[in-house]
Symmetry: C2
Subunit: 369 residues, 2 copies
């Protein structure tokens, strides 16, 4: 077992899930609420986690939807109140992880989720939240070590709360939980992990430790993503992908760039995030190249491939069997102008290495059609 502690206490290894009972005790929890989804329940992973939690008996909410909603949150808060819960365990992908952060936030601070909207300055009021253990079941979002929670409100708006105080106290990263992840999801979430390394390394923020971690995330995912997708049972590839995703999440504090700035408004139509990123990122790298020659050269060293980064990326996305155009996903040209405007206003545009306005985003989106 490897104990790693940067933003959080991270237990990383195959079978690390077996430490769940110890980690619940270490946080002093008596009645945790476990937040997961039906897929995790059906796959047997929930059963494994409950077994590992013994003699603790978490309450379970398995109704997390693909994009977590305020209705999910209300259901969790009702369970928490009814059973006197005192901490939350997230078990799943980005949705369960985001929902758990929201539960930890509201059970400690009260109010409604919208009160903590980062856009209105509400996130600045976030102090220490309820104790959290995060157990990712995919290698991708890095949300297990992330500081953000995205929630669809009752009125349909998406709202984001962001605070370092919301990072989980403990992460249990067990690559064994990803062995049964299907190829397409492995590929799309893996591209997301890779993109976190690339976009955060290209961000102009000064943070050398995060840069070093980002480069390592790129090297690791570049080496292992094909293999993890083609042979899902390959333990070494799954381990490398989980570490790469975690490192991608650790590097995120530098901020991301134009690919994520476009994926946010495009994601409102429920296209898969990693799939969108795979389509957009090669165009963004080409766009950024004149402003990031040196850094892109270091990324090319990290991938260990002779080709230009944008070319290597688009070949990789194709080889993984993922869509390579927005049209193939069903995006309509008529929607692009409003998406370009939203992307230009997104805070991630500020950490893209090349200044990018709405017109530039319009061009990039057309290229990606």
């Amino acid at each position: 077992m490897s104990l790693i502690q940067y933003l959080s206490r991270i237990q990383f290894d195959f079978d690390a899930i077996d430490l769940l009972a110890d980690e619940i005790s270490a946080l002093g929890l008596r009645r945790p609420l476990l937040v997961t989804d039906r897929g995790i329940e059906a796959s047997g992973i929930l059963g494994r986690a409950l077994h590992a939690a013994h003699p603790h008996k978490p309450m379970v909410f398995s109704g997390t939807t693909e994009n977590p909603t305020e209705a999910n949150l209300d259901a969790c808060l009702a369970l928490w109140a009814e059973h006197g819960c005192d901490g939350v365990i997230a078990l799943g992908g980005g949705s369960a992880l985001d929902l758990s952060k929201a539960v930890a936030l509201l059970t400690s601070h009260g109010g409604r989720f919208a009160d903590y909207d980062v856009k209105t300055g509400g996130s600045a009021r976030i102090g220490k939240v309820s104790p959290q253990i995060a157990i990712p079941t995919a290698a991708g979002t890095g949300a297990e070590i992330g500081r953000a929670s995205v929630m669809s409100l009752h009125d349909g708006r998406k709202c984001v709360a962001v605070s370092l105080k919301m990072v989980a106290d403990t992460i249990i990263a067990d690559p064994g939980l990803t062995l049964s992840l299907p190829p397409r999801l492995t590929a799309a979430t893996g591209i997301d992990a890779l993109s976190h390394g690339i976009e955060s390394f290209l961000s102009p923020s000064y943070n050398p430790p995060a840069d070093a971690i980002a480069l390592d995330a790129v090297a690791r995912t570049a080496r292992s993503l094909r293999r993890a997708t083609e042979v899902g049972s390959d333990r070494e590839a799954r381990r490398e992908m989980m570490m790469g995703a975690l490192e991608g999440g650790m590097a995120l504090q530098k901020g991301l760039g134009a690919a994520h700035a476009m994926a946010t408004p495009l994601g409102e139509a429920h296209y898969h995030h990693g799939t969108l990123i795979g389509i957009l990122l090669p165009h963004v790298v080409a766009w950024n190249r004149p402003f990031s020659e040196d850094r892109i050269a270091r990324l090319e060293q990290a991938t260990g491939d002779g080709r230009p980064l944008e070319r290597w990326l688009s070949d990789l996305v194709g080889d993984l069997g993922l869509p390579q155009t927005l049209s193939a996903l069903g995006v309509h040209s008529a929607d692009l102008p409003s998406i370009a405007v939203k992307a230009a206003k997104d805070h991630l545009t500020l950490t893209n290495p090349r200044p990018t306005g709405a017109d530039d985003y319009g061009t990039l989106l057309l290229e990606a059609m």
Copy 2:
């Protein structure tokens, strides 16, 4: 200003010291105790810090000795009690930083320092300690982000307390504070920073983010240590050295190796730690080589030098004008056997890549004479 947060909140930049008042307020401190030494007081850096703390008025203890003692600690605790202090600011090198951790520990936990000895298991009882701000004035030990405090007890024994709970809440890393550090101290503390990158990278613990940070620390210090020593006013070199030292400190959680295992007992005779490391490390790298071929090759890539790492290191130490043998420091051959025995028992021997017993240490020490 760059805000970096891994183990701690790190404010890193020239003039970051000007943020001291804000950071005191952010921790909610009303009456901090500032721990420093006479050299820092005489250099004008203390005056600068007190000015930056305004309108806060820290109490000052400037009697820190080169190896902090329990007498220093008692004096700090008396000041704390007399003035109702509620947090500690460390301003200085490794000694002031270590002493401040001890102050934070005892003011929150009570008892004597020896109660928290890592060797007797006392460190395991350490919970959250009093709030701390760490302001390093040299680029070397990494103690500003470290988890250990070394104290010379009243009875002459050295005692070490180790806990992640003792890492400072906030670090203000201002390379400007190192501009007046004399060449010899710049060289010796810089070698210590470099050695943290090298020995932690060679440690077999699994921690890829720490590995990535360690390699970056080596690359940065390898590029800048000569320049910072030769032209102390070179701001870029000072910045790189301070970042390299911080990264070396972040990587330490992997554990160090045989050079530090020998430097600990040798240091009891008050030889300068970085100077000892400069003498010992080339021999340790040569000794480890058969067990770490791949990792040493990656370190050689990071130094950007064609020579074998051990050769590059010993040339560097010589060029910096530091002693290259233990004899030159005044170590007597008769003392080596007991030092070898102590090194073999040191916990850092466990994270050296090659198993190293007392006889092996004896041979290494003779080579270094």
